[in-house]
């Protein structure tokens, strides 16, 4: 199984979730993160003092899927989250050794 980690723009979350369910993803974890990257670094003024905004709000997805589904998931996220503007985000794939469903104790593919 693979763990797919993706940082995307927050307003794309709903579209991505929908797109993923249509290709058979049945679960995922979402967290709000502060992203640092090429998009960062514009400056704002607060009470007359200028400062750099280094972090932009992003949403992080973590999805564990069977190996054979991994590429499709990556593609789907890439296509749905793209706005062609800087800051669209990144997708990373890691290997997962075991998966367990707490409720049933099922393991690996059956747990997803």
């Amino acid at each position: 199984m693979k763990l797919i980690i993706a940082a995307i723009k927050p307003f794309k979350l709903e579209d991505v979730r929908e797109a993923l369910t249509t290709i058979g993803v049945r679960g995922l974890m979402v967290s709000d993160i502060k992203g640092f990257g090429a998009q960062s670094g514009h400056s704002e003024i607060y009470r007359g003092a200028e400062y750099e905004v280094n972090f932009v709000p992003k949403v992080k997805l973590e999805i564990v899927v069977p190996d054979e589904l991994a590429d499709q998931v990556v593609e789907t996220i890439a296509n749905t989250a793209r706005t062609d503007k800087i800051g669209d985000g990144k997708i990373f794939v890691l290997d997962v050794e075991t998966a367990v469903r707490v409720r049933t104790g099922e393991t690996n593919e059956d747990a997803l």
């Binding site: 502060k34 607060y46 009470r47 007359g48 003092a49 400062y51």
Partner: protein, 441 residues
Amino acid sequence: MRLLKILPAATAVALLPTLGLAQDADVTPTNGEIGYILNTFMFIVTGILVFWMAAGFAMLEAGLVRSKNVTMQLTKNMALFGLAAILYYAIGYNLMYPGDGWTINGILGAFSPTSVEPVGLAGVETDLTYASVGSDFFFQLMFAAATASIVSGALAERIKLWPFLVFVLVLVGLIYPIQASWKWGGGFLNEMGFLDFAGSTVVHSVGGWAALTGAIILGPRIGKYNKAGKTVPIPGSNLTLATLGTFILWMGWFGFNGGSQLYMDTAANVADISRILVNTNTAAAGGAIAALILTQLLYKKPDLTMVLNGALAGLVSITAEPLTPSLGAATLIGAVGGVLVVFAIPLLDRFKIDDVVGAIPVHLFAGIWGTLAVVITNPDASLIVQVKSIVVVGVFVVLASTAVWLLLKAIVGLRVSEEAEINGLDMSELGMDAYPEFHKG
């Protein structure tokens, strides 16, 4: 006394202590008492409005500090009001209004706790031309507390609780009432012809001077100015609360300035109060709009925190003379106050004076401006006298506060440890998070 209401009217009246019964038993109140009742009730209503400002300061400050210091800021605001209430009763009031009981004539008032009229004015000759001492004390007490509230905001996020509260004791018990007696107690500044209707100098600049000396002695918050000496903004954690606090202060100010007319026993007095209210309101509007437009022009984006400070600066600016200006003049006087803060806030930063909520620009700078502005609309005012008085009060408060701050610094220390400041005063000093469930970063 609830029962009364179900007794037949006759008995009811009989039961009521009525000074006037002698003159004409059948009318309550007697003509002689009406003015007294109106004056006293006016103080009650306006005094409650000024009390409300304590909540305004608490919300404004809680909104402009970081979430890790909110519980501490709230604790300071609650505690300082409680202490102010007790100290002003124990010492402050009679020190400020000695009548003819001066310790040093025109300079140092009387030392004695406050006592108000006996129940039902029983067995006392009451001067019916003013208001009850109780209502006057109630009203004045709120001014003393406001002075202390001004200080708490400027020194937020780094000063220890108890040393701060000790300073409040001295400020409300001695510093504030002594200098206030010079003007409002009928002391030497008053003799000189100093004019300060509701306290741009007597109240606001005093809080401002105390805040300034404190901010300098205390030093800036860790990280407020980086190695390069550049200012690093530290955004407030909750601008909704800051805005609520500003609206509360604006509302309370109607009591602050309106009640300072002191009398509502004639058509002229009540008309003056209404004139004061419209001027107070329009000055606040002028300050807010000036800051709105100016920040748009300077920074291309309006800065809400400056708009809030602008409204408050407008209010402070009109406080020295809310009666004589026309609506137009009042709007402009307030607007100048709003402009002042927009320039003063970055200026203070240039000097590395870290004022968390903008208390110094709002209360000190706008307070000075307002005191000078009296001469524009009030023919009885003299620029020299106004300046002299500003200086006299300023020197006294700066010296006195500095002494107290340095003493406290030497004995117990003013500032929390670096680690405590970094982790936030809430957990390190109080072990209590204001928003324990909410994720912050």
